[in-house]
Symmetry: C2
Subunit: 201 residues, 2 copies
């Protein structure tokens, strides 16, 4: 005896393929959806299909976009002398939320990770290099990859490639987060905070 | 400057409406979906639409089904003398996983909860009573609502309704779970376990 009608089983299977959604959560989500009004469920399905269909990579910065070049690359208000290199599109969203940075971006879609078989060719590094070759306006490349082993390796790799080309290459600062507590900071963060100290006053 | 393309924003909004999915998770899921092959994404959207379209309530037991009466109610192999009353369709799945119970079910779709404004009329109680009136074959109603305040109240309410009708009404046992540890059992569970003790050997 099947535990569910086949269409429920298939829905659970599909939902369980999503990251962070296990079997139990998938089941809970499925039964939730079955209890929702039909137009609400249709709106979700449509949003999924529509986003997947309209969204592609910007041919300039490799960010996800529904127009090419993307809104940021096409905007005349952005400072074209700096490119901020991030690992993924979510990082662009975080930077934009800050409302401080007015330059351009480049999205790598990953970080170099020999352990997971991700080399420089598996991320959008070549696109960045081609872009820098073609565009003389860029004076600074800000490496904003994550402060993880992979992100650091990627930053270092990029810095070594870009330095000989005479482009100013900077790395975002790491240290104690604002509102954080020295007592709870890990050793590496604390060491970075000490290393990056500046004169004040 | 919008942080996302509109179709990504809409996808995140729709995903964030799901239970247990907050803004951050919705964002993560959305970007995951955008990175998946198109047929995988279409399969998910289709499973959602298909399940919502084909699934309705069984007119006999109120379980979710794609045929009416549902597979369990229609099966000649089931014991028609007992009905197990549960709160929701997931509970039927749990009971069926056990492969022990061969009777029928009745799904209440909730439990009586005056605090949340759920009275006897908001759950599928009337359907159960009508079913018992029409069907003389039922000899036992097993109350398998959850051992929560609401589930207990619902069980008690049902028991008081059914007793005068001369139907054997039983409640599933509560106690220390198998593989559980007395040391970690809460007081109420322990009290229930003592209360429900039986002679052995």
């Amino acid at each position: 005896m099947a535990r569910y009608a086949p269409s429920i089983g298939r829905l659970i299977t599909e939902l369980a393929k999503l990251p962070g959604i296990g079997g139990k959560s998938a089941q809970r989500l499925a039964f939730h959806l079955l209890g929702q009004p039909e137009e609400q469920v249709a709106a979700l399905a449509e949003a999924i299909l529509d986003a997947r269909k309209t969204i592609r990579l910007c041919s300039v910065c490799c960010n996800l976009t529904d127009q090419d070049p993307c809104e940021i690359c096409a905007s005349p208000a952005r400072d074209r002398t700096m490119i901020c290199v991030v690992e993924n599109p979510r990082d662009v969203a975080s930077m934009e939320r800050m409302h401080e940075y007015k330059g351009l971006y480049h999205v790598l879609h990953g970080a170099i990770s020999p352990m997971q078989g991700v080399g420089p060719d598996q991320i959008r590094l070549r696109e960045l290099l081609a872009r820098l070759r073609q565009d003389d306006a860029v004076h600074e490349v800000i490496l904003a990859t994550n402060p993880t082993v992979e992100g650091e390796a990627t930053a270092l790799y990029l810095a070594r490639l870009l330095k000989p080309a005479g482009i100013l290459t900077t790395r975002i600062a790491h240290g104690i987060p604002m509102g954080g507590d020295l007592e709870y900071a890990d050793d590496v963060t604390l060491a970075r905070a000490m290393e990056g100290r500046r004169e004040i006053g």
